[in-house]
């Protein structure tokens, strides 16, 4: 597994753990109400799990497993994928925090970063969606 996939999948797992914990708070509070303020975490829950977990896990696994290029650089324009990694994590945290704090401005900044992350990753991964390439070893 390449290093960027390690980072993406581990970050995705941390979003999963945090998102499930927030979901657990919401569900516990729905059954045994202890604080109405907990409902303010609903959008935090949704953003962490949809963008931080599911979307980022898919990116990490795609970066790892889709066909590479026969000629170096084997992973293509990796800076685009690295940018997507930074943007999706920053964007998810800013969007979730913005909604928790009730700031529509920060929410917009976060969602825009998530959009850019998606675009960067799509542009990055597009040429890797292709048949496997084989190079004939020299001397054959």
């Amino acid at each position: 597994m390449p290093r960027l996939s390690v980072w993406m999948v581990r970050a995705a797992l941390l979003h999963l753990g945090t998102g499930f914990t927030v979901g657990g708070l919401l569900l516990f509070n729905k059954g045994e109400p202890f604080d109405t303020g907990v409902w303010a975490l609903l959008q935090v829950h949704v953003d962490l799990l949809i963008f931080g977990w599911i979307m980022q896990l898919a990116m990490g696994v795609a970066y790892w497993i889709l066909p590479r290029f026969a000629q170096p650089p084997k992973y293509g324009r990796t800076w685009l994928a690295a940018l997507a990694f930074g943007l999706i994590n920053a964007g998810t945290l800013i969007s979730a925090g913005g909604q928790w704090a009730g700031s529509s401005g920060w929410t917009l900044v976060g969602r825009a970063a998530i959009l850019l992350a998606g675009l960067c990753f799509a542009v990055y991964i597009f040429p890797r969606v292709k048949p496997m390439e084989f190079v004939t070893p020299p001397g054959r």
Binding site: M1, V6, G24, F28, G31, E32, I54
Partner: protein, 139 residues
Amino acid sequence: MPPLARYHIKTGLVYFAAALLLGVLLAAQPVFALPPQIAALRPVFLHLLIVGWVTQLIMGVVYWMFPKESKERPRGSPRLGWAVFLLLNGGLALRVIGEPLLIFQPGPAAGAALAVSAVLQTAAGWGFIANTWARIKER
């Protein structure tokens, strides 16, 4: 494919079918003037789909195909893996029972079911992370 992965994926398929069924019921509610409380089952529908199916499918495939932790412990702790399976599915099943109960017959049973469900699912999430972490590595 190890048995635990098959259990995850097949249980996930059952939740998938249940979710789609509930999706039809939600869509049928206004059309046939069914009890309006049915509309409140939307979170159950979404979580059947996304926890019961999508996340569970991911857990099964990760357990099966991620890089091996080591020769001695290729898939982490199988025992923790099974605990995660039981916690996730027990927790989700309790929610599927508890949410309608809370809507149609609110009371201590419904509240307790949701609270216990919350604890089980949260534990499942962290258990999965603990069992998967060391398998995410460069090579």
